[in-house]
Amino acid sequence: MYRFNHKDLLGMDQLSVSDINMILDTADSLMEISSRDIKKVPTLRGKSIVNFFYEPSTRTKASFEMAAKRLSADTLSLSATDSSMVKGETLIDTARNLQAMNPDVIILRHSSSGAPHLLARYVDAGVINAGDGMHEHPTQALLDLFTIRKKKGRIKGLKVVIIGDIAHSRVARSDIIGLKKMGAEVTVSGPPTMIPVDAESLGVKVVFDPEKALNNKDVIMMLRIQLERQSEVLFPSLREYSIFFGLNKEIIKRAKKDVIIMHPGPINRGVEITGDLADGPFSVILDQVSNGVAIRMALLYLLIGGERGDNLD
């Protein structure tokens, strides 16, 4: 019989198709809790979860906190600004300190690719990667898959385009791995300065021009343009970026009539996407946010809730 058998969630590459289905199914059954009057179940009572964010991220942190609270877990949040934990201390020192508090799960956001892998070698607690450098952001990919499955009824065979700074995006990397595993067809698009070398080795098609890349697509995933990339000479100005690589209501006509638009947030309105599209009927951006809580509840449940792989009653 299938069992969800992982101590950590470090990246999408470690998950099998059955694992992903299990997480999405579990999230489905947990969605209902969020619509109750009292949005709380005692499933993880007595479990403790550390939210450890080396990099600021209001959204992901809030989403994990909400997920933990709805399952009645105790949470402790640390951020890089709580500097006694961070300044002069190596990640491994910090890991040992956290381990001494004996948490069940540590959720780590870090600016270095591979940091959660390093942490996981030093703690007994489960480690969830909440975004590491330019490497992976697996919970974002899972909530994206969950959102697509809810909206489209399936993932397999869908044509997905991801537009933006693919090279520096952990969201893109995790989404690509997850989408490929679930049988979607993935195209990446954006200025050549933002497409990683040997991008095809990830199993995607590269079409630089978004207008052409949008052709006949079921799903559009926009990435946030990091404003500081301008100084890294990846593009000359936001103005020019929005003209040639932004999503607007003209070029979206190339996609399928029932296309959905996704964005991991926060949005730069008028840069990668126009405001009317972000708020319009194709947009599922707010669904992504609520689905994110359900996915994170599902993960916490599967990683530390009783017997791994038990079905939820």
Partner: protein, 433 residues
């Protein structure tokens, strides 16, 4: 006292020959080389016999590129511990790169290094002095004074010379003193914040890449400057197919250029980084399988003259951290010989050729003693057991640091005795007891 090395197969890398010979050593020098059976010790002389039958006897190995961290970072390596690692690996001479703290850009640092080496009293340690003051690529160091103090070459290794004008003048000025110029080829703008080779693995792991072009642009610049000045430039740690191609072309055109590579560039490719192993992080980075292939061809065709370790010790403080924060570099003195011997078994090079790249060639590039086994020369020798099989263990390193990607590797071939000036400095045969 006389030392008699009996019955070993003696390699002469200069002639490319392998012959069974007895070696008679007196007062630190090779007194006689003669066919087995010809040596008849007379009377009651004090005689030490080393039975080398079934073994290979080579000139003491010469590593033209190490980082011994002293002065300044003695917690990583000292000249004494580095010398022990060298002796254990079969090396009788090393050239120390100047990126210590302070940088070796003055007579006093050069003299300090030589003084420490004398105290360690194991192998020959040759300081390489900086090209520019503080290796800042602004002004030249005093080549003449540094040479008189004992520096054998100049290099800003650890950093490139960023100014082409300064590099040109360095090469021209070095000519007056006959000092070799060694170049660490890296276009800092192109390598930017890169931490591994730019390719499928950097894309997969989300790590900032260092394109092959970052190295190759500078290799081409050095070739053009060697052509412009007519004086040789030595290219350190060649790692890419393109570099091999450009160096080959330059040599064919008669441009005076020499080159070294390091064992990791022919033993590993960038997939070693998967799992974020910081012991697979060094500059230049591990490249692609096609580059590894090209390095091997470069070695076999003589495009690459020398194998040097770029022995770069780092402690856990620098290595047991997030990948992008980890220091560049790995140790290499104690694994270079077996990794090179693996290439010989693979058929890339003959044994005399491989030994030439580990002794005669680097000694000639630096114009230092060693690299030959001849009557009248210093008795710097290495005895190698080609069939000694073992697994590389962290605990067995003599180096103070253990940052090696080869821990756990099955190796074949070991330096079982190292002799410097007739004195045994690595004695796995237990001759001294």
């Amino acid at each position: 006292m006389i030392t008699w090395i009996k019955g070993g197969e003696v390699i002469d890398p200069r002639k490319g020959e392998k012959k069974t010979l007895d070696i008679v050593i007196k007062k630190g020098k090779i007194e006689r080389l003669l066919p087995p059976g010809d040596f008849r010790p007379q009377g009651d002389i004090d005689l030490k016999i080393i039975d080398a039958s079934g073994m290979i006897v080579t000139p003491g190995l010469v590593d033209m590129h190490v980082h011994f961290r002293e002065p300044g970072e003695e917690y990583k390596e000292t000249i004494a511990t580095g010398s022990q690692a060298a002796a254990a690996g079969g090396f009788t001479a090393v050239a120390c790169m100047p990126n210590t703290n302070p940088i070796n850009d003055s007579r006093s640092v050069t003299e300090f290094i030589l003084e420490r080496a004398r105290k360690a009293n194991l192998i020959r340690v040759y300081p390489v002095a900086a090209i520019s003051r503080g290796s800042r690529s602004e002004s030249l160091t005093e080549f003449g004074d540094l040479k008189q103090a004992g520096a054998v070459a100049v290099s800003d290794d650890g950093r490139p010379v960023t100014s082409s004008e300064l590099m040109r003048r360095a090469i021209e000025y070095a000519r007056f003193f006959n000092l070799p110029v060694i170049s660490h080829c890296q276009d800092l703008n192109l390598s930017n914040k890169g931490v591994i080779h730019e390719g499928t693995i950097s894309t997969k792991l989300g790590l900032q890449g260092i394109p092959a072009a970052s190295e190759e642009i500078m290799v081409v610049r050095e070739i053009l400057l060697a052509k412009l000045t007519g004086y040789p430039v030595h290219i350190a740690h060649v790692s890419t197919e393109g570099s091999v191609k450009f160096i080959k072309q330059a040599k064919e055109e008669g441009i005076p250029v020499t080159a070294e590579t390091a064992p990791h560039y022919f033993s590993l490719d960038h997939t070693a980084v998967v799992g974020f192993d910081t012991n697979a992080k060094m500059y230049p980075p591990l490249r692609e399988p096609k580059d590894v292939e090209a390095i091997k061809i470069g070695l076999s065709q003589g495009v690459i003259d020398a194998i040097a370790t770029d022995h770069a010790p780092h402690s856990l403080i620098e290595k047991d951290v997030e990948f992008d924060k980890a220091a560049f570099g790995i140790i290499g003195l104690e694994t270079a010989l077996p990794l090179t011997l693996a290439l010989v078994r693979e058929g890339v090079m003959g044994l005399p050729e491989a030994i030439a790249k580990l002794s005669y060639n680097p000694a000639s590039i630096l114009s230092i003693k060693g690299g030959v086994i001849e009557e009248g020369k210093e008795a710097d020798l290495t005895i190698i057991d080609l069939n000694n099989e073992y697994v590389v263990k962290k605990e067995s390193f003599k180096s103070k640091s253990h940052n090696s990607p080869f821990i756990g590797w099955q190796m074949k071939g070991k330096a079982i005795l190292t002799m410097v000036g007739g004195r045994i400095v690595n004695d796995k045969l237990k001759i001294s007891n």
